[in-house]
Symmetry: D2
Subunit: 363 residues, 4 copies
């Protein structure tokens, strides 16, 4: 089978590199187009990495030799790519939205890692195990923008990907969840590169990440919500409160969670059973990047930990542990996911796999 | 004024060293007695530090030359010391209680850092700004044990010293606090030395500290409780839920706190005002180790942080920040204290100063 | 092909766990015997890991269920194992030698990670790419001890495995190396578990590792030496001076090296060429654990780094960089190897593969 | 005594903040002028710290309220300041030289932390204990530039301040030092703020700092050199080779040093004695920032360490340890200094104190 040609927007940043790394030897996709700022255009990919290849191992050989294209040259991408991954790390959200829209307008589905479009009413924030049906908004989105084949799908903020799947599994099993109090301890790679200054995290914790708590509290409600008349309406009945901290960890976001059920809480064993058996659409469709078991529960008293558990199932599984009764709410537990794999590039790839399998992307 | 002679039990451990360091140049107290295990007895203090002097700077010269005594030789201590600080770090709680009782029985007040006696019904867990009146149980304690001049007073677990004073200040101002959900991020020095293996915390967080959550949830209730018929009765009406994590930080315990008031919550400005103006008995008595302002509020969005704030007012103040409205409870905030100063040796010294000033210790 | 049954002595420690992890799915060997202290004997392997499985991932399923045997029960091992890996981490070297000798006496080749036998005159310190011919001493060793099929082979200290192969490659190419000055920056896993206290390395470097500099200076001379009349005679003509430092890194020992050649130094390009083309016996024999290219040179100005390069070729390659002219000696460069893979368990496995292929081990 | 008014150029950066912090309560100097980029001009100092006050504690109250001035507005500084400290952190060296020259031309002595003027033939690189007489070049410098009262004096790179004073002490005592091989392990604060990305140093060492090895090898020769006809001629007869590494340490540069004497090496006890007794001009003049004992030798086998020794004598002393015989050169030892105090702001202040006391600065 011939592989599908894909492009990476913002290909030289940390997330862009992670996409390129994870897509090496992907069974369906092949990176044929690396787009970056005009200054990099025209040079070989391997020669424009001003901070080097920072994600480990080596630049895949065929990408190293790619000529970097100007991210503004959309038509060039359109000729080569069936779709693109947007890995922009620049702070200007308006500009990101503008670019993503231009690529969609040019007929390319855009699977985005950026936060720019997360608030857009007809753009789904997709976690493939949770809300795969949100892809069904695509025709309405295309109609609203006047796009033919292109569309924009985003993935959520990395901070919530540790705990939202376990919570969703409980909701899907019929248990109403009413309140969540969450404290995250987030890895520095979540801030991109160069991101957090080493001076700030050596022997330290920073109890603040700009904008992160708002995203952690609000994005889940859109993900759990439903589309009505071509617009997503946030889920009601769940309230989330978040503290977000930056800790001296390279990869892996950890969350301490307190959960209050709406009515009768399920038994502890029931919760464990729900998590163990939970499977989503990616598992049913056997998508290449789907973790076999999306939620792994560790019985050890001191797990999950970022160093030991972030790479579970190639970094795509969520690891949960320490489920115990809570004196204030019903239960408390700890959850972890790899922020640059499950929470960024890997999650984006899984979204693209799902959209392809569901027929939204033309190969 | 002649200084009061004091002894340190467990003088070679990390907390013992911290006591010796902090007591150098103390205006009232002088370390004249360093007790450790029998193997160390008879040698000079400076020669028995098998891991070295690990708390920074140099061993105070006069302590370096002290002959270490066997901790079991209580009568030798009784001849020299007006009272002792117990800095035992061994795991056997029964043994610690036995020693502490023997020192009390021999007429010496014991100000303890160990957890062994925290559950004893007539032993106060003392935070000098919060429950100084708990010292009034001493006569009943002495009577129950048949002690004449000696007694045992303990300080609480280091994990709760960041947030309990700010919470108490609100209670003392008349605001009923009903529920607290807390996630701590604790420094490795909280585990003593050698304590946490470096392998476990480099590039990692460990979401578990044995016994710590129980202490964090229960000790505050005793501290906020009242004595009845010579026994402390825990405070009712406050429920605490805690997650305790070990993070790669040397000193300084950070806590993310969600607070639910019992009735009407105070305005944010009112909370800040209460914290700013809060003063306790140590401040009124101008005790040497009393921080001038026990609760310091930082306006910066990203504070407090362990590295920047742990040493506030010589490590004896609690630093608070990020007070904001909470969508699930009423408010959330972040609190920090230095775990080996305020949370251990410094807190113990302040307790001794208070007890002396209140007349419970004979100079 | 039926796999060869092997045992692990000291199976519950960090190095023992690493052996078990690396041997999972080994094409030739299968762990059938896990030996530890008498307290662990009789229980399942998974149940005796008092600090947990600390090397990442999960305990291989078949080992998890193995009944741990008393390390003193040599005959039980002899019935099951073709040979054993010695991963003892206890400090008593005499005891380790005693055990290793007993296993050898019982007919089992012993591939040891411990330092106990490194000074024994007829025990080879083996780096499979450098001195594979040192295995030829085995008959003399067996004769001296009265052993029939058993023998002892050790691997060198982890600190020298970063730079010794690159140096050897130059010597093997005919360039006399006269002096080396080395400063190592070593990972905490080199001290086993719990090993280095976190208090000592957070925000710190410890410029001392007990015994490490002596090993770093002396072991290479035995490795480069030759056997005469059944005893190894150290290499003359090379002098090494080492500083060994402990740094806050989990895995990967880095070394800064200054090299003085005996006569005319080779050109820089010549050195790079020698390194690039260097292949040893493991490569020629295509041993399963042999890195394809034993010495990888990175052109980037800031490489090798522990985090980015320790896993090169599954942790078995040495990565070198920054070869530049030296104003005091001839050249300086930086070298790195993974201390618990190449420098410990992986190196031990490669030694066993070599010995098997060379006919010293009976399957 | 009325304090002397001084200005800080680049007052908002990390080194600028450190100057302000260290000058609080200085007995002779008072910061009255804080200059930064035009964007910050006109606002209060406390309001232009876009990354906050990152050096610990609080902004000194009187500086917090200073109106920041445009660094290009030299005449405004000239009206207020007797001299200025240059703490520029921008990469454009030409621009820094231009500014420093303008301030000097306007009559203000400039004590610079920047590297821009270190290569200028008539600008002294000053370590107050080593080459105080280099100040004597000032009249020639002023003549060459046509300056009246102003001049430029720089301090050397922070990487060499750990080991150069101990080496100089030996030279001053009559022992010719011929060769030095040095490996530094440098703290992240040496790169300013934000400086090193946390991604690069968590669980890692970076064996490269751009330009650092050249400075480490060459600047000492100028410092040890002599002025001839108004120009410094580098010291001959000493050759230095350096490896410079960045380690995950906040403050404190550590160096492993191998030293070869020119002729007969002194006895180990002699070296220790020379270091112990070494005193320089700052000690003789009892300058406020002079450490009492410039070189502190620690007897413990594992010292100096950054965390335990960087603050020795308020961060102004150099701590040395592990002096031992070297098999390749004569001795090896380890040295440490605080890079942002002794190696930056504190060293600059000491230089200013010396110049004032020597009459080069008009109060």
């Amino acid at each position: 089978m011939k592989k599908i040609s894909v492009g990476i927007l913002g290909a030289t940043g940390m997330v862009g590199q992670k996409y390129i790394q994870l897509l090496e030897n992907h069974p369906w996709f092949e990176v044929v187009h690396a787009a970056a700022s005009p200054q990099s255009a025209g040079k070989k990919y391997k020669d424009v990495l001003k901070n080097g290849w920072i994600v480990g191992g080596n630049v895949p050989a065929h990408v190293a030799q790619l000529t970097v294209e100007d991210v503004g040259d959309v038509s060039k991408a359109a000729k080569k790519c069936a779709f693109v991954f947007s890995a922009f790390e620049m702070p200007e959200k308006d500009l990101i939205r503008k670019y993503e829209n231009e690529y969609a307008a040019a007929g390319m589905p855009v699977f985005s890692n950026a936060s720019a479009h997360r608030g857009t009413e007809n753009v789904p924030i997709l976690i493939a195990e949770i809300n795969p049906h949100h892809l069904e908004i695509i025709p309405a989105q295309q109609k609203a923008y006047g796009w033919k084949k292109g569309f924009v799908v985003v993935k959520p903020n990395c901070s919530l990907q540790s705990y939202l799947t376990p919570i969703y599994a409980l909701i899907a099993a019929g248990h109403k969840v009413e309140k969540l109090i969450i404290t995250s301890m987030q890895a520095v790679s979540g801030a991109g590169y160069p991101g957090v200054a080493s001076w700030d995290v050596i022997d330290n914790v920073v109890p603040f990440i700009s904008g992160e708590e708002e995203k952690t509290e609000q994005e889940p409600l859109k993900i759990l919500g439903e589309a009505k008349e071509g617009k997503f309406v946030p889920f009601k009945g769940l309230t989330i409160s978040a503290h977000c901290n930056r800790v001296p960890v390279s990869d892996g976001h950890l969350a301490c969670v307190n959960i209050l059920f709406g009515k009768k809480k399920p038994a502890r064993e029931k919760v464990l059973d729900i998590w163990k058996k939970f499977r989503g659409e990616p598992q049913k469709l056997k998508l290449p990047f789907a973790p076999e078991q999306p939620i792994i529960y560790r019985e050890e008293p001191n797990r999950p930990q970022p160093k030991t558990d972030r790479d579970a199932d190639k970094g795509m599984a969520v690891t949960v542990g320490r489920l115990r009764l809570d004196s204030v709410f019903d239960f408390k537990f700890v959850a972890l996911s790899h922020n640059t794999i499950r929470g960024a590039a890997g999650g984006g790839i899984l979204n693209a796999e799902l959209a392809l399998k569901k027929g939204y992307v033309e190969p």
